[in-house]
Symmetry: C2
Subunit: 208 residues, 2 copies
């Protein structure tokens, strides 16, 4: 097996557990089953190694996509929310560490903000598409709506372990519940587009 990849994986794991200062080169080397010197020969310095490990991680991060043309908002948004929450929960340790050290190591922040940036963009686009379809009956500001849904999911993923009684039960349904609250705030009705009857010209144009 490739030593370089083993070191990268070990570095990510140790960093998630102990943060930057706690990620000693000795610990990483032990976790990777590799001599400490090999790390310096491969990556030059501890800082370069951690940076490489972080980039290696974010590259492999996948995010569910939202359709360009909404059809069944509740189903589509719920699926998206669930995948977003799953991603955050999977990486909650490393995200917490990165956030805690962002003032000391802001470079790592740019790498960590990539996923939420893209998620916010995707979500805003979807909501605007819903609006264009005339399915959002309330006045709304896309960034506020997106920030609310993402904020709820983010806090849940970060904080549920620390204080489970502050969050809806069971955790498997939380993403769905947040999504429904948002849709209600926007005045979006249940059901897929074909079942909708309020929409007329515009949505029919788009669906053909």
């Amino acid at each position: 097996m490739n030593h370089r990849d083993a070191i990268l994986a070990a570095a990510a794991g140790v960093f998630a557990q102990h943060g930057f200062r706690g990620s000693t080169t000795r610990r990483i080397a032990d976790a990777a089953g590799v001599n400490e010197i090999t790390i310096f020969r491969q990556f030059g310095s501890k800082e370069a190694l951690i940076r490489a490990a972080m980039q290696h991680l974010t590259q492999s991060a996948g995010l569910a996509t939202l359709p360009d043309i909404p059809s069944d908002p509740e189903r589509e948004l719920t699926a998206w929310s669930e995948s977003f929450m799953q991603h955050l929960r999977l990486h909650s340790s490393i995200i917490r560490k990165t956030m805690g050290e962002i003032e000391e190591r802001p470079e790592m922040g740019e790498c960590a903000t990539e996923v939420p940036r893209r998620a916010s963009n995707d979500l805003c686009h979807y909501l605007l598409a819903l609006k264009r379809q005339g399915r959002i009956t309330e006045k709304f500001e896309p960034k506020t709506a997106a920030a609310m849904l993402m904020g709820a999911i983010f806090s849940d993923a970060m904080g549920r372990e620390m204080m489970p009684e502050n969050f809806p039960q069971p955790k498997e349904k939380a993403a769905h519940m947040y999504t429904r609250v948002l849709l209600r705030a926007l005045g979006v009705e249940n059901g897929s587009r074909k079942a909708t009857n309020k929409q007329t010209k515009r949505s029919k144009q788009l669906s053909n």
Copy 2:
């Protein structure tokens, strides 16, 4: 001025900047304008000092209160949200550090979760009171609603600096905007109770 308090304040400040491992006794002593030895004589160990500093902090944390009997939900909830957000923003550094180190030092977490626990409780009670008044027209689950509002505020306070384009502008109005989205989701109408007119039987019953 009291040396003990100076040390506690310095410890909190250094911890907010550098976290536990980065809070060296030398740095704290320098920040407090005190000899390093004094720290050990006063607190025994670095760990005891940091713990004392954290408790000292949470004791002085105030939180806005919500009335037992809601009158003007938008005004009252907005004020509460703003005060909650201000508190989180003021302590964002220390909160991020504590979250990042919670796996290594879980004792500190109990101290850090006190404020959000109380906030969630207060908010849920207020929402249930609104429900009892018949002013919430939609089906709703209080913890989900509370988690959404608090989650949005929390994420905003933690993440806006890192990625301002993901959040509504200007930041001074964000708390108000989140509050309004939530109220719309719950079907709560604007204005104070006496000014309400759309509500018919139930609300009139209650208001007289």
